[in-house]
């Protein structure tokens, strides 16, 4: 268990942010979550799973939108279902892209903050601060309908953190963001975690979660596959080589560079591309970025990885 300066304590024991006890949820014949027993500690925790794994179901159970079919779930030490008072301490950023489109960003966040009991002026000031925190001040008075995808994600995050909650639950917060915005958001989440908030972030992209936290909950087909420190999971994965496809102008020059890396296990050529197998994809990506920036091996047009998704990781984990 990771000690956190803001761990809640009850009877000398740290109270987990989320505690699920034999938690199951089904929709008719479809099992969304299958007998999950897990404690999510304070700090930043990444909830990882491929699409359809049960992440959103778990998040909906955490936020009291769904009632458990079996078992129990407590949030900050209390049951969440039919307990709206808990939401003074919780901020939720849902996955769906839905807003009151004709309101401006500031109006929308202010209106939602008012529901937390703030007076009108206070709500507006609080909303302004939240909008500033997500770097949306310039667009605050524009209608949300005119926002780009990244701006919409940010205004969603603003409404989640405006009332300064202890616990932030973020469902796929980076979806649809461009790379620069992704990096900024990851940095924000890390900063909030350092400031003492407990944050649960869901994603299906491992290296994004890795850059936010080292504490991970892996979920697949409604079951928890693994939980704990990401390096432990990474060590398992590093035994399994990653395939990376790089399309470039000077493939031979690129290949020459790659052969100098000790983690490159093999490479082959395809049409205007080099396909590499590496045992340390993070190190490889870092070096590739430097190579692309320097232009030493010509222009690089495309980098993709058929392996760099959790499905491949899970398949590997399930096989071992």
């Amino acid at each position: 268990m990771i000690d956190h300066p803001h761990d809640r304590v009850a009877d000398g024991q740290a109270v987990p942010a989320i505690a699920a006890d034999h938690l199951s949820k089904w929709y008719g014949q479809v099992i969304g979550l299958n007998d999950v027993s897990v404690s999510v500690p304070s700090g930043v925790t990444g909830l990882l799973g491929p699409n359809g794994a049960g992440k959103s179901t778990f998040m909906k159970l955490m936020t009291g939108q769904l009632k458990p079919s079996k078992g129990a779930i407590t949030v900050l030490g209390e049951p969440i279902w039919e307990n709206p008072g808990l939401f003074f301490r919780i901020g939720f950023c849902p996955e769906q892209d839905a807003f009151y489109e004709r309101m401006t960003g500031l109006e929308w966040v202010s209106a939602l903050v008012r529901l937390n009991g703030f007076a009108e002026d206070d709500a507006r000031a609080t909303a302004s601060r939240a909008i500033e925190a997500v770097d949306l001040t310039e667009a605050a008075n524009k209608k949300i309908g005119a926002y780009s995808k990244g701006m919409r994600q940010r205004v969603k995050m603003a409404q989640a953190l405006a009332h300064d909650p202890e616990l932030l639950i973020l469902d796929e917060p980076l979806a649809g963001m461009d790379p620069i915005m992704r990096r900024r958001t990851i940095r924000m989440i890390r900063d909030w975690g350092r400031a003492g908030k407990t944050i649960i972030v869901s994603s299906h992209i491992l290296h994004e979660i890795e850059s936010m936290t080292s504490n991970i909950l892996l979920i697949n087909q409604g079951r928890i596959l693994a939980e704990g420190n990401v390096h432990q999971i990474r060590d398992l994965i590093d035994d399994h080589p990653h395939t990376i496809y790089v399309r470039a102008d000077e493939t031979r020059a690129l290949a020459r560079e790659f052969l100098g890396y000790d983690d490159v296990l093999s490479l082959r050529f395809e049409d205007n591309a080099v396909v590499v197998q590496t045992g340390r994809p993070d190190a490889f990506y870092a070096r590739l970025t430097d190579l692309a920036a320097s232009g030493a091996a010509g222009a690089i047009h495309e980098v993709t990885s058929p392996d760099d998704n959790l499905q491949a990781v899970f398949q590997y984990l399930v096989r071992t």
Binding site: E101, K143, G145, A146
Partner: protein, 278 residues
Amino acid sequence: MPIHDQGYRRYSGGKTRGRGWTVIARNGIRSFLGKKAFLGLMLLSWFPFFVRAVQIYAAANLPQAAFLAPKAETFRQFLDQQEIFVFFVTVYIGAGLIANDRRANALQIYLSKPLTRAEYVFGKLAILMTFLLLVTWVPAILLLLTQIAFAGSLTFIKNNAFLLPAITVFAFVQAAVVAATMLALSSLSNSSRYVGILYAAVLFFTQAIYGVVYAVTRSTAMSWISLSADLTQVGDVIFRLPPKYDTPSVVSFMVIVAVTAGSALILDRRIRGVEVIR
């Protein structure tokens, strides 16, 4: 060269133009036929047919029930009675036909395919008209055939030869006008609920306004205000019956044409691939 290229190749075969609407229609019809609640509504809408069929059987086989023998008006009355089902089927199916596509931003996807706006609209129209004809034209024609079958002779149909074209023309006119109106309203919003109430409002409100005018003036000359009254008037003319209202049939017909033309105009303006939000 014996070995063919196994990579991606552009399709260079023939393409059939102008059939896109059939794909839309087919998929739409199939999706509604999969809904139990809707099938229940359709089943209910055929209940008057069975009642009439029993009436025709009784009239043909029981001398005491000869007074129940069908006349040309019987088929007109049957179509009149089906109006309530026409309303509910129109609201159930028609309200979301375009509104749901607008909500899901699917119009952009449709119109980015080799599909014209006209094909899109015709496809949607075909879905609604199919079901409307299933509750009007099909049971009415079947009723006619039932009459022939139970009577065991063609005398009735020979004496009322106009019935077949009359039923067909009226059913198609009614279906086309109602479907066009509903589609136009559906294109105005992305909420099927709003469209449904809008349609109900247009229909019942014009009826209510006419009701007030009639109550005050005791004259049916202003029945053209009500869309359903216009359809009734045109129906009476098609079936060669004395018109129910004092409104000249030409006026009722012109109102129907105007409503249909207005609907086409609205659809022309609203079915677009992009929408600009200011």
